[in-house]
Amino acid sequence: MADVRFDHVYKRYGSNTPVITDLNLHINDHEFLVLVGPSGCGKTTALRMIAGLEEISEGNLFIGDRLVNDVAPKDRDIAMVFQNYALYPHMSVYENMAFSLQRHHVSKAEIDQRVRRAADMLGIKDYLNRKPRALSGGQRQRVALGRALVRDPKVFLLDEPLSNLDAKLRVQTRTEISRLHQQTQTTFVYVTHDQVEAMTMGDRIAVLNAGVIQQLGKPQELYERPANLFVAGFIGSPSMGFFNGSLAWSPGGDALITIGSGEAAHTLTLKGAATGQNAEQSTPNGQGVIFGVRPEDLRLASDDAENTLPGVVDVVEHLGNEQLVYLRMEGVVTLENAETKGVTARIAPDVTLRPGEQVSLAVEVAHAHVFDAKTGERIV
């Protein structure tokens, strides 16, 4: 049990641009921290640096109070679950789980007790004598978890442990890992590219892109106040819809966002948006902005309602409790990292909408997001 601290850590391969740039991250004791980001963002590299499998080019890494830059993996007292399970194929499940304890010279009786307890927790005690090849994917992944679990390590590292499981098993195992964390009360560092996993499991989430932390915070914070366009597009499923717009400030401190131009222009009023933010000074009138709205913040409304935008229904997906309506709208921006393109609205299931239909959508402006079009940083 220990905290993990990255202190101005860099990772470079040769003279290329760094894979990880100036990483500062304090993972608290007992915390479940998720590193999330698109592939190649450096999240796995960061995890492997904690494990000691990747050298640190610059900066310091602490586990507990100990500087571990030059400590070998075997002396770090960490356990890691690999994306591909990495089970020892020639050993039985029992031997796989006992391997690390044997390396640490734990007594036979205690190894037996710990392996059986972990197998019990994971529901694999009936397979202890089997070889990995006789197990299904889900069972293999549980053995991999068990192998880490018996260690009782300071830090638990998980590298996309669910990505090789099918959808159903993924949801089950997700819950199991959350339960394991509650039971063991160990520090967990979890790497994934799946924002749903990140949102559901993490105490805190660090969103990485191109080797830089974009935002660090509780799942709800990331969802409600994404710090920049990248996080806004990455978190949430379906993704937030984005529009090109321009910003003006009213004397009362309201932000006026104009989307579209000429006759098609619509203006949304964000009441009291400037309060206490000093946004007015930093963003002048007429500044180009990206306006973001989550699917649940769009509602069907009559044309004369306040803060509406017109749209045309493109595709309708019925999910039973709601329907997802994909819309064609004026001024839509497509972000590269967003899971879904275009604008989506969550609509109650009892409304009948046909593709091609003209609709008017009221925007819940209190929950709207405004980003600087140039820097991508959050304004409101």
Partner: protein, 333 residues
Amino acid sequence: MKTTDPLDTAGALPRALPTGALDLEKLNEKTGAAIPPPSLTPLERLKRLASSSSLTAIVVVIALIWLTPTFGIFITSFRPPSDIQASGWWMAFAPPWHFTVSNYVEVINAQGLGKAFINSLIIAIPGTILPTLVAAFAAYAFTWMRFPGRDWLFLTIVALLVVPIQMTLIPVLNLYVSVGTATNNSIQLTGSYLGIWLAHTAYGLPFAVYLLRNFFSALPSDLIESARVDGASHVGIFTRILLPLSVPALASLIIFQFIWVWNDLLVALIYLGGNPDTSPLTVTVANLVNSFGTNQYEVLTSAAFLSMALPLVIFFSLQRYFVRGILAGSVKG
């Protein structure tokens, strides 16, 4: 596969479809690629040919032709000398049948082949184990340890594969002699088993390192890293993970190396110097050919078959270690 309905696939991924057209296009592309082209490529024709029974028949015939001389030696070695002089070995199958083991008794006792057989074992067993062991350590280091100049060193060792043995005989022998002089003959490398063990180890290493390194580097790196995180040292990873997983490669290497050392005449002749007390089978059989010429086939055939026997045993007993799918269940994909 042929008739995959693109809509079917799309239905399973509702979220992938918001903008419709683009994704459907991609799906269509994929489906299109899955339909096999109407005409067969030359490669496919070759594959069909390979699976046909006529090819099997050709292979069997070639194998039979290849085996006939060996089989002839085998039969001849069990015939009495008078029969060998009188008729070809195939006549042995016509009655009256005369088979005898006296030829073997003669070569093993009177011609010293029994002693030579033991000598061959004394040379071949360490001459196989030493290079295999050293090569395994080296291949491990070349694959999983980081040190400066690693790749260059490995390339140099592989480059040594092209050096002909004959080129090294005189320099190495010189070295052996000077080691003897320098140590007042307390380390005797010429004419001793130690010298020939070292020679075979050195000659075998480049290929052995090359073979094992290729095999090791094909093992999933996750496995080794997992063991490192689990607390295994390099020795632990080598003995507990790598060796058990490398059994197929080690078995084939042992077969290669053993047969090459067992059949070696040149190296033994040069470094052991033809002393009958230490000579292996190859040297002794060569001497028999010189002294008996082409007249006494009974001695030569039984001697030849004796020298052939052990490699056959080794090959067939290690064959079962060529296991496919030794990594099954370890990693996904």
